[in-house]
Amino acid sequence: MELNMNREAKVISKNVDVFYGNKQALFDINLEIFKNEVTALIGPSGCGKSTFLRCINRMNDVIDICKISGEIEIDGFNIYKQGVDVVRLREKVGMVFQKPNPFPKSIYDNIAYGPNIHGIAQNKQELDEIVENSLKKAALWNEVKDRLNEPGTGLSGGQQQRLCIARAISINPEIILMDEPCSALDPIATAKIEELIDSLKSSYTIVIVTHSMAQAARVSQRTGFFHLGKLIEMDETDKIFKNPNNKMTQDYITGRFG
């Protein structure tokens, strides 16, 4: 397997604890996510993998009872430091969800919305270019270029998900978080998203939460296994799926858990 030997940590999690009210959801999470790689987070439902993902762009801030301690550094900067502009952070860290959630707007406006509100495009021509480039990067351009004014919600599930990825890309993020992006898609649409993830990693750092072991094995370079709020093991994906160090990881990925 090809491995980038000059790895650079894009995201570093240091002693992260997360509480929902009195219930602790994450325990002392320490890990590194490398630049221009795909990192997969796996584990049973409720293990904290999505909670951790949402820490990376402070999506948990919108939950009142959620309290976070520890640090998450992006490019060496602690995003939980006081005074951090969360809107700017989310510009840098885009997110794609389990269920495709296009805006009830045209395909064009779905992409143009972000660059507009973030003031990325100076004029209509620039905006057109962003829309075209984003749709091309998301491998959707050829399928929608003749119907940009039609509603995004009219696309197939797989196309909608790629539209959401194009929307995330449109504001030039550095990191893309994906929370089970293929769980609502058929195998062909899934294959297209996986192909897309592979091509996007040269420009972005990608973190994907998935319930599919095979998907984690296919798309990621590193895999982290979470269980009951703890990071049990994180290693090269190849190592995790051929010879994990931890018995709990092995029991989970081989279907012996329980």
């Binding site: 072991m213 095979a214 094995a217 995790i240 799926f241 051929k242 010879n243 994990p244 018995k247 709990m248 990881t249 092995q250 029991d251 990925i253 081989t254 279907g255 012996r256 858990f257 329980g258």
Partner: protein
């Protein structure tokens, strides 16, 4: 934490494959023993039985191949299960080859005279055969017991098999040197010695794959 899969039929499939390897290994071990007995006792009558046993071994190989393919398709095994699938596939291939070599050896005695072969030569061949039989037993034990120690011992023992092969070949060449009319017999007996050495190599590979199955790595040659 349980060692069983949540899906019980997955466990059953793995057990069936495991049992098939154990049975195939046991048949191959017996075949090797029968083949050595046939050679050292010049028991030509047993050759047809040995040929039949080899056919059974070949059937096991085909069946194990089929089962592993089904397992890969149905279960997409990972980690220990993946290593079991891959190493089992290789082990069954090596067992089949050992069966072929043992059968080939038994057939080599058919043209030989029954009673005027030099006892020293047959003795050195017997010692070589015993070393290979000991090696296959230890190799199959390492699989059954999932023992890396035994697997490493098999790899180490291969050197002794190689040394005994050299001695056995020298005895055959001495036999040939005594009288040129021994040429045909000696050629057959050279093949027997060489085939036993090759069987030892396959047994060593089995042990290496058992080591891989257990540890996820291959044994270092200098261990």
């Amino acid at each position: 934490m349980s060692d069983d899969h949540i899906v019980k039929s997955y466990d059953e499939e793995l057990h069936i494959i495991n049992d098939a390897i154990v049975q195939m290994g046991s048949l191959t071990e017996s075949l090797l023993e029968d083949s050595m007995n046939a050679i050292t006792k010049m028991d030509k009558d047993s050759v047809s039985k040995i040929v039949e046993s080899d056919k059974k071994i070949n059937k096991f190989r085909a069946s194990i191949d089929e089962q592993i393919m089904t397992l890969l398709v149905k279960r997409s095994p990972v980690a220990i299960d993946l290593r079991l699938a891959i190493s089992t596939l290789k082990i069954s291939q090596d067992l089949e080859r050992i069966g072929d070599l043992a059968k080939g050896n038994a057939k080599k005695i058919l043209p030989l005279p029954e009673d005027d072969l030099p006892p020293e030569m047959l003795n050195s061949m017997r010692r070589l055969g015993e070393a290979v039989q000991k090696q296959i037993k230890l190799s199959l034990d390492s699989y059954l017991e999932r023992s890396t120690e035994k697997a490493i011992q098999v790899v180490k023992d291969d050197e002794q098999v190689n040394d005994l092969t050299k001695i056995s070949i020298k005895e055959v060449l001495d036999f040939l040197a005594k009288d040129k009319k021994n040429l045909e017999f000696a050629t057959n007996l050279l093949f027997v010695s060489k085939n036993l050495e090759r069987a030892g190599d396959h047994i060593t590979r089995i042990a290496e794959n058992v080591y891989y199955l257990i540890s996820g790595d291959y044994p270092k040659k200098n261990k």
